[in-house]
């Protein structure tokens, strides 16, 4: 019974609960529709609006910003009137293009029409204001309207201002290099930009398995970062355009090198930053803080720099209202050139390997040489020294004076034609492995003893020359072929051409190594065209002629006193 009774009571309660909940739901549903209709427009305003550290009050004479934001949350398009009523002592700084300014006694009202489309739309604006110098500290109400929405704000004015509001901001210093977190690195010199060598990027990518990549797009990365330390005594807040350029230290002419990403390659002249070639352009905001550091990435095209050097870095800050602020600092750009260092390292390793190999076989080779051959090599070495080294040492620089960069045309006659005539004639007379190494050693030692030519470059150039020439002659089988020749036998022209080609190739390589070692060890610069011309004339043409004549000379000498 009791159970039945309880069931009846529960059913009744459940029924009442359902009805009650339905009524509450309907009530809130109707209420929410009503709220929705009321709050389709959302209005917010922030005065003073700060980009940086928030402040609770403003100072008389200060420039401030009013941030006005309206959103349409409804489905219908809205046409509204937005207005701001400023209290006495607060005025817009510049003539407002879109706002209608109405002065009502001491009060100032800014008004404008705004259209907000349905669905969701937003409209905002930043209005620069100035607090008059004579405003008494206190709280000042501001009335903001957007359609039916009304908002009241209070601006607190406190203290007094010593610095005039129109005091311009200044660039205290330009700090670079910085890392991406804005930290300075003790390892690097101040005001120095180090550019990396991009020439090996393709090979690096191939080795790393990245395959074909767009090198230009890959190159768009900041080489470093710089910091602009600004002093903003008036606490100005605005958007600024920062343009950074490189200038010639003497003429102050702009130098290409820095660039703004998206202005290169296929996307040139495209995007918001388009059209700023040869300069680094960035937008930034002055937050109103008395001291502010703006950090910017620095993009530089390594290919546009010769070998780096000293430049002026000009930083220009501009906005549409005030005059531009310019700061110039001397900077040093270092361009890393790993090609010459790579060539020298490779040559050193090759020479070390060659020397190790030669050291293992040297005694065995020497034992195969007759005494007469040793004397002949020594005397030919002395002759080569007298005919090649001495004139080159004494007059080589004179040819520089007389013929400028083309002095090698004359000095090459000695160092290529005469030298290869002597060396090849010796090879014809004594066609055994080691003969070139021995004559090179004699020439080098004589140079050391007579002219004091002790230097790593001397070892490297003589060593590489001997190594390549010996290897090529041995590898091509020319030694074996010449050993099989009799004194009266003529050497066919194709064989002579092969010999000339071998000598030219070896000479080109050794000249190239010598020039690169001069670049690395003696820090000399050589233009690419100069290196190519020397390789072509001295290395290829003169050496081939010298070797060709040397074979003929050797054949004639073999009749005089050959074995």
């Amino acid at each position: 019974m009791r159970h039945m009774f309880l069931m009846k009571v529960n059913k009744g309660l459940i029924k009442y609960l359902i009805w009650g909940c339905s009524a509450i739901f309907l009530f809130f549903f109707s209420m929410s529709n009503g709220f929705a209709q009321e709050s389709e427009i959302s209005l917010s305003c922030q005065i003073p609006y700060y980009l940086g550290k928030e402040k609770e009050s403003v100072i008389p004479g200060e420039q401030i910003q009013a941030f006005f934001n309206v959103e349409n949350l409804g489905l219908q398009d809205k046409q509204l009137t937005a207005s701001i009523e400023l209290p006495a002592g607060f005025l817009p700084i510049h003539p407002q293009q879109n706002w209608q300014v109405m002065n009502q006694g001491e009060l100032c009202q800014l008004q404008r029409q705004i259209n907000l489309s349905g669905g969701y739309s937003q409209w905002f604006d930043l209005i620069p204001l100035k607090v008059n110098d004579d405003v008494v500290p206190g709280n000042y109400p501001v009335l903001i309207r957007a359609g039916d929405q009304v908002q009241r704000l209070v601006i607190a004015v406190s203290g007094t201002r010593e610095i005039p509001a129109d005091t311009a901001f200044t660039i205290d210093s330009v700090v670079l290099p910085l890392d991406k977190d804005g930290k300075t690195d003790d390892r690097l010199n101040r005001s120095t930009i180090v550019l990396r060598d991009r020439r090996w990027d393709y090979y690096k990518n191939v080795l790393q398995g990245k395959g074909a990549t767009n090198q230009e797009m890959e190159a768009i990365h900041p080489v470093t970062h710089m910091g602009l330390d600004l002093t903003n005594p008036a606490g100005q807040q605005k958007l600024i355009v920062i343009t950074t350029m490189l200038l010639d230290a003497y003429t102050h002419e702009p130098i290409p090198g820095l660039f703004t990403p998206s202005t290169t390659g296929e996307n040139a002249e495209a995007g918001a930053l388009g059209g700023h070639e040869n300069s680094l352009v960035a937008f930034a905001a002055l937050t109103g803080e008395a001291k502010q550091r703006i950090r910017l990435p620095v993009y530089a095209d390594e290919q546009l720099f010769g070998s780096g050097g000293n430049y002026l870095l000009q930083v220009t800050i501009a906005d549409e209202m005030d005059s531009t602020v310019i700061k110039e600092i001397p900077i040093k750009i270092i361009k890393q050139d790993s090609r010459a260092a790579g060539v020298v390292c490779f040559a050193v390793i090759l020479l070390a390997g060659g020397l190790f190999f030669a050291a293992c076989r040297f005694q065995r080779i020497l034992r195969t040489f007759r005494t007469r051959w040793l004397v002949t090599i020594a005397l030919f070495g002395a002759a080569a020294f007298a005919v090649v080294n001495v004139p080159s040492t004494l007059f080589g620089e004179l040819f520089h004076i007389l013929l400028g960069p083309f002095g090698f045309v004359i000095s090459g006659l000695f160092s290529s034609v005469f030298l290869y005539m002597i060396v090849m004639s010796l090879v014809i007379l004594i066609p055994y492995t080691g003969v070139i190494a021995l004559i090179s050693i004699i020439r080098m030692l004589l140079g050391m003893l007579a002219f004091g030519q002790f230097s790593p470059i001397t070892f490297l150039s003589y060593g590489i020359h001997a190594l390549f020439l010996e290897s090529f002659l041995y590898g091509s089988g020319m030694y074996r072929y010449l050993q099989s020749q009799q004194t009266g036998d003529k050497i066919p022209v194709p064989k002579m051409a092969l010999l000339a080609f071998i000598c030219a190739a070896a000479d080109c390589l050794s000249i190239y190594v010598s020039l690169q070692s001069m670049s690395v060890l003696y820090r000399m610069y050589y233009a690419d065209w100069y290196i190519e011309l020397i390789l072509l004339v001295n290395g290829l043409v003169y050496t081939a002629i010298g070797a060709f004549c040397g074979v003929l000379l050797g054949k004639r000498l073999s009749k005089v006193g050959g074995d």
């Binding site: 040489f369 003893l449 790593p456 003696y522």
Partner: protein, 295 residues
């Protein structure tokens, strides 16, 4: 052309004449490395002046000073001339235009050849490296008996055959110079004008005519000399002449100097590593700063 008194070593009693050849060779090797390690123009100049002071202490004769100055100036001029043309650092100011970029072929090939003022200065500074080596090399040559030099090479395991070849070439070098002079004189008497024309055929003919008699006589001399030395037992075993003892003080000095050079090399490597962001030791900051100024 070859004045022995000026070119070859002469005995004297100066410090550099008394020093063991091995010490001088060590000194030369160390200086070669130091001059390559140093970038500072100030340090290079001090080193170069030091080598000149050494020549002063070695009582180098006026003729030798003339040669030293001539060689050094020519070397400096050569570097200045090449760097004046190829200097690629900024800023650079053009002093003269040798080939305008508008000149057909060569102008386009080179992009114009200009003389840059900064290149002249840079070349002069960089030439100090070769100047240091040249000056010290000549000091070694002028204060060391070639036989002692050869002995020190041999003491450092130079093969006997190589030493024999070197001494043979040194002995016959003046003879070859004289022979070259005789050949050129004889050819001049026959109306030989080497640079009468710049025709390649003429130049090659000239080279042929000059070299053939020199080498032919060299070859005959080699045959005679070889017979001579073989008849005296060359190649049947030999008695190596022992080197005099290397004075302990000089040895210590040489090893100390090598230690300094190795330390400098390590510092330079560490500087390169820190510059490239590989290894940086903050405690070495003072050393890094010192290196920036002096190395």
């Amino acid at each position: 052309m070859y004045d022995r008194k000026v070119w070859e070593a002469t005995p004297d009693h100066t410090l550099f004449h008394k020093l063991d050849v091995r010490t001088k060779l060590m000194l030369l090797g160390c200086f070669a490395i130091v001059s390559l390690l140093i970038d500072s123009s100030r340090s290079l100049f001090i080193l170069f002046c030091l080598t000149l002071v050494m020549h002063g202490l070695a009582h180098s004769s006026l003729g030798r000073w003339r040669i030293l100055v001539l060689f050094t100036l020519l070397g400096i001029w050569g570097s200045m001339a090449s760097q004046a043309l190829f200097y690629s650092q900024e800023p650079r100011s053009i002093v003269a235009c040798l080939i305008a970029p508008t000149v057909p072929i060569i102008g386009k090939l080179t992009g114009g050849v200009f003389v840059y003022r900064e290149g002249l200065e840079y070349g002069a500074v960089q030439a100090l490296r070769s100047g240091i080596m040249l000056s010290l090399g000549l000091l070694l040559t002028w204060t060391s008996d070639p036989r002692k030099l050869l002995r020190s090479f041999m003491a450092w395991k130079m093969p006997y055959e190589l030493a024999f070849m070197l001494i043979t070439s040194i002995r016959f070098l003046p003879v070859i110079f004289q022979e070259t002079s005789v050949v050129l004189t004889a050819q001049r008497l026959r109306g030989f004008k080497p640079f009468r024309t710049i025709s390649p055929r003429h130049l090659i003919q000239t080279a042929f005519q000059t070299l053939f008699p020199i080498l032919a006589r060299t070859l005959r001399r080699a045959a005679t000399l070889a017979s001579s030395v073989e008849s005296r037992g060359f190649g049947r075993g030999f008695h190596r002449i022992d080197m005099e003892n290397w004075p302990k003080v000089e040895q210590l000095f040489s090893y100390g100097f090598i230690l300094v050079i190795v330390s400098m090399g390590v510092l330079k490597i560490m500087d390169v590593l820190q510059f490239n962001g590989l290894i940086y030791i903050p405690a070495w900051r003072v050393l890094y700063d010192l290196m920036k100024v002096w190395m």
